[in-house]
Amino acid sequence: MPIRFLLSTGLVAAALAAPAAAETVSLPDAALTSAPFETITAAARGQTVNFFLWGGDDRINAYVAGPLAATLKDRYGITLNRIGVADTAEVVNQVLSEKEAGIDAGGAVDLVWINGENFRTLKSGGLLLCGYAEGLPNARHVDWTDPSIANDFGTPVEGCEVPWSRAQFAMAYDSARTPEPPATLAAFLAWVKANPGRFTYAAPPDFNGSAFIRHVFMYAAGGPEALGGPFDQARFDAVAEKAFGILTDLEPFLWREGATYPTDIAQLNALFANSEVDFTFNYEPTVFGAGVEDGRFPPTTRSFAFDDGTLANTSYVAIPFNAAHKAAALVVANHLISPEEQLRKADPAVWGMATALDLDTLPPDAAEAFRALPRHPAVIDGEALADRAMPELSADWLDAIEAGWLRTVGR
């Protein structure tokens, strides 16, 4: 009996452990960036793209796995495999680990939704396919000279990723509780002190909480210009003292007197929804509309932006250096920036995230279709928001600010 046990164990284990035979990559990297797109499309047919993206929003999940995947299948014969992750850092970690383990081809990630420090990490490690982005057929609808497209949190994009969406930070309040929200950051800080316990922000490394802290940094520095360009320790130190001073002074007036902070934006949203605090914020204001619809926010939720300006960024899709299905990933990236797909994604009924395209490059009626998209009452008007856009800091500034906050305020 033991022998039979052993044999069957061994067989089952071997059968299960054998890694699936690696699919062949038909085009070398050089060909991918130079070949006519028809060649790439032909090579892509029948491939599966493992698309890694944050998986916590069922609107996004439904859009990607539903209509987007169906279109790609119909039109290009590509199977889109949505892989939801809790944090994009997990994807970066995957690619880094593969690099470390010497896996230079056949990697798990074909396409990833990315920006900021995650992009910087992969790009600086030479872990992305580069040089193709501006050559994609639909890239003509993108304004590559726009600094907010050409730089991703201060890191030059240089053809290593394809812009997918734009986002801009906004604050949310409940109009039933707070009829008149403060219009500037200075007024807001005064409001917090006048209403103890009614505000807090999510602690870094939460993406949104970190963005709120950067607003205070910009306020302390006297505007975004003071923090532009590459990281500079002396400039950082000068501003940090003032900015962290403001945040430390604020602590006694925060929820739980600043003894603890929400560890992610969902916790802050829940505090807001349950009247524990009176504000929340998000880098993607369409979340407020979706949140009202799916029961995360009260129906009287409204959003606004500080008159001093709020940070704006672009998010992208990128292809790792060792992606197993690069041709298909290129086709998907190209399709994502087609006017038709961008319009569908910008529709609040589908997802609602703002387009990354330059509307001036589109035929007038196509551009008009974008402008005519409906807006949820909880979501701030796009033009009002765009008027207040401030460029993001570079990723190095971002790291230094997060680390500084953890050292000084967050303990």
């Binding site: 990490t121 003894a259 560890t263 524990e276």
Partner: protein, 288 residues
């Protein structure tokens, strides 16, 4: 086939698998924290990861709170688990009751954590009942139990999960001991409490303590409960280690492994304790 060969064949798969996966994984982890990566052929001995791990902000506080959570959860779960087992026996333990006590044993930790979040938060279900009863006015009036410095909700989540475990082990011990010894003591004039304290308890103690040790060690290494219910700082050791492991900075990774080895080292100490306890009772049967 000789008896000896048969034994070797029966044991070999388990030993090979555990030695390979478990000990192997542990060894690779340890090597990596000193700059040795056999697979990649890297050999740069260094103590930097350990310096980085132990120099991370709040790391000592993290170790401290982790030990606090584990001690408190173990103590409460053991006492309540023991009580539950004794009560179940006294109550004549209907099958349904026993089943209900055991229910949490089958519930994933993350579910319990989420349930407690909705139950005990300052705007949670109990707080709402408090509001309905006119006891509190605003969420802030409700006691801070979630994301609090004492990790109350974290500890309660482990208690809810581990009381059934301790109860099940205790019931098994009680069944193994039988009612004979206690009855003899009673017939000799001992009170109920005396019979338990001086006769039954010494007999079941090794098993109960072994269960307690397993609980303690388990709590040391669990990520999801403090991740859902813990405060922003200090973080429990597994949360801190996982955050460092997935950090953008590759150099953080060996440091994260070093931190998790600290938890493992405490676990090894527990293992030795368990073995001493188990050898104190050679007839312990795990299941019955």
């Amino acid at each position: 086939m000789t008896e000896r060969a048969r034994l070797v064949l029966m044991l070999a798969p388990t030993v090979a698998l555990l030695a390979g996966l478990f000990l192997g994984g542990l060894a690779l982890a340890a090597l990596r924290t000193v700059g040795i990566v056999p697979l990649a052929g890297r050999f740069d001995p260094t103590a930097e990861p350990w310096a980085r791990a132990l120099g991370a902000p709040d790391v000592l506080a993290s170790i401290g709170v982790t030990l606090w959570i584990a001690s408190a959860a173990t103590l409460v779960a053991t006492v309540l688990g023991l009580a539950a087992a004794l009560l179940l026996r006294r109550a004549g333990g209907g099958r349904l009751m026993t089943l209900l006590v055991q229910f949490n044993l089958t519930v994933p930790h993350v579910v319990t954590a989420v349930g407690l979040l909705w139950l005990l938060g300052q705007s949670g279900w109990i707080a709402r009942i408090g509001h309905g009863a006119g006891l509190i006015d605003r969420p802030a009036d409700f006691p801070v139990l979630v994301a609090d410095p004492a990790f109350v909700a974290v500890i309660l989540a482990y208690v809810a999960k581990e009381v059934p475990f301790v109860a099940v082990v205790t019931l098994a011990m009680l069944a193994a001991v039988g009612t004979g010894p206690a009855e003899t003591a009673r017939s000799l004039g001992a009170s109920r409490w005396q019979a338990f304290r001086h006769v039954t308890w010494p007999l079941i103690r090794p098993g109960v303590l072994a269960a307690a040790t397993v609980v303690f060690a388990f709590v040391l290494g669990t990520y999801e409960v403090p991740a859902v219910l813990g405060p922003s700082h200090p973080k429990a050791l597994p949360v801190l280690a996982y955050q460092m492991f997935t950090s953008n900075d590759l150099a953080d990774r060996p440091a994260a492994i070093a931190l998790s080895l600290v938890a493992a080292a405490i676990g090894v100490a527990c293992l030795m304790a368990v073995r001493r306890l188990m050898s104190g009772l050679p007839t312990l049967k795990v299941a019955r």
